[in-house]
Amino acid sequence: MKYMLMMHAPRAGWTKAGIGTWPPEDVQAHIRFMKGLNKELKEAGEFVGAEGLADAEAARVVRAGKNGAPEVTDGPFAEAKEFLAGYWIVDVDSTERAYAIAARASAAPGKAGVPLNMPIEVRQVMSAPPVDM
């Protein structure tokens, strides 16, 4: 079963109290943790993909305008408290295992190594239908 694990980061915290304001060794520890987690998932044979997303400041919302031309706005999410910071796709044996990985990611170290406890949204990836009977 494949799951997408979406990591949400607090928008307000990102610039004022977020990773940009941590001491370098804490930033390093955070990056090391994320790299380690990815390595662990690869070694477990569960890794399908993972990406971190660039800062939400630069995010834009696009809709089709007249004649299908892109209509670009800053979007309604300027007020959103949290934004998507990155995701993993994992292929695991059970929902419980997906939750366990999400909990690991959620506990990524923040300032002074304190776990961030970020909310991780866990969604099943659509797959094939079951056998018909």
Partner: protein
């Protein structure tokens, strides 16, 4: 220059893979390294045979190439150990028994040689032993599936990764972890004891069944790589059936696969949309597969212990034998689901039993049976319960309730074609309200 004969060796290679692996393990032990060596030999064959022709003794050729790889592997391991300062007092047993690389290798199957020390029918037993190893209960199901396809099926890691839509590196890790797990659990290279046999065979059949499902259920559109999994599962199950002709459940599983796979072409429309059994164009069903499956299950059922795969195959046969959906022998199907229900506590069986009851005794009878599933935790929030309920409400003419349940089911399914199907069903009923 003459045109080289067309190389059709893929099947030959896949058939030989477990025999070759068995022979190499008997000589060298070390399942994990032997499996890598055999993969390299298979790769060498796919590169060389199309050019140079298939050797007279393809099995011997592969064993020889794999054995050379093993010897290289053992030598480099020894060198590594020496570098690491491990004192090697004498040659390890692996090297003591290795003949020169160019020796004829048939000696390797002499009685008394190898861990299990048996030669007669060694290659047949080896395929079974490998299956029992790869489907060992110590492994997770995804690991068992991947390892079975590689070690017994002879597929490459890249092929398996493509079929399961994961990166090749991930699949490689999954396979090597599975091999480590087998090593650390100390699973011996021999057939399970009589006491464990039936449970272990059950695990093997379940893995084969899962491989089939993975291929069959996703064979939508031109996705041939995944389609190959269903063929592979049928091929492997056929192999087990040939080795264990007297086992009813093995025959039942093979029949079930054939009878289900026979409907594959009719199961989806041109845009990959799902077509339910009752609406399928039955002229597109595979007559040969149906004939084989029906013969197999008819031959097996009267012979003894009835199992769940045989019952499911018998049900599939009744569907396949009906020229029109209206000709389906539902009373017989209802009786078979009744038996199946007594045999297993699977809520999916209860669900299908309710459908059969509705077809025989009317939708109210089916809906009545479904109420017992509401309390079943395994079914709570499962889309299939909503989907079946919607279908029975539609049969009963209660379209409002049917719409609500079709929509609930659409929201809960994790399958895109299924979601499209359920959403369309709801939309059609809304239009006719």
């Amino acid at each position: 220059m003459t045109t080289p004969p067309t190389f059709t060796g893929e099947h030959l290679l896949r058939d030989l893979a477990p025999q070759v692996l068995g022979a190499v393990i008997r000589r060298f032990g070390d399942f994990a390294a032997a499996e890598d060596a055999v993969q390299e030999a298979l790769l060498a064959a796919t590169l060389q045979w199309p050019e140079q022709g298939v050797p007279d003794n393809p099995r011997g050729w592969l064993i020889q190439v794999a054995a050379r790889r093993m010897i290289d592997h053992i030598r480099s391991e020894l060198a590594r150990r020496r570098r690491d300062g491990v004192v090697v007092m004498h040659d390890p047993p692996e090297l003591q028994v290795v003949p020169a690389p160019d020796d004829p290798l048939h000696t390797s199957l002499e009685p008394g040689f190898g861990s299990a020390g048996r030669a007669l029918d060694g290659e047949q037993d080896d395929t079974l032993i490998l299956l029992f190893m790869c489907c060992h209960p110590a492994l997770t199901r995804p690991s068992a599936i991947a390892l079975t396809l590689r070690a017994v099926g002879g597929l490459t890691t890249a092929e398996i990764a493509n079929a399961f839509l994961v990166p090749e590196a991930t699949m490689a890790q999954r396979i090597s972890r599975a091999k480590e797990r087998i090593k650390s659990s100390g699973v011996p290279f021999r057939l399970p004891t009589d006491r464990d046999r039936s449970e272990r065979l059950g695990a093997v059949l379940h893995v084969l069944y899962l491989i089939f499902n993975e291929g069959y259920t996703s064979s939508i559109g031109p996705d041939l790589q995944r389609r190959d999994l269903a063929n592979e599962a049928i091929r492997l199950t056929r192999g087990v059936h040939n080795l264990l002709q007297g086992d009813g459940e093995v025959a039942g599983l093979l029949a079930l696969m054939l009878l289900t796979d026979a409907r594959r072409l009719a199961r989806t429309g041109p845009d990959g949309e799902l077509i339910p059994l009752a609406e399928q164009d039955r002229t597109r069903w595979d007559r040969h597969a149906i004939a084989e499956g029906v013969a197999l299950i008819s031959d097996t059922l009267p012979r003894g212990a009835i199992g769940a795969y045989q019952l499911q195959a018998a049900i599939a046969a009744l569907h396949d034998e009906a020229a029109r959906a209206a000709d389906t022998d539902w009373p017989q199907i209802l009786a078979l689901y009744g038996l199946l229900k007594r045999m297993s506590d699977n809520p999916m069986v209860s669900l299908n039993h309710a459908i059969a009851a509705a077809m025989v005794n009317g939708p109210a009878a089916g809906l009545q049976l479904l109420t017992s599933l509401d309390a079943d935790k395994r079914m709570a929030g499962h889309y299939r319960l909503d989907a079946v309920r919607a279908h029975l409400f539609e049969m009963a003419g209660d379209h409002q309730s049917a719409i609500a349940h079709y929509r609930a089911a659409a929201r809960r399914t994790a399958s895109i074609p299924e979601r499209n199907y359920l959403t369309t069903k709801a939309a059609r009923l809304v239009k006719d309200l």
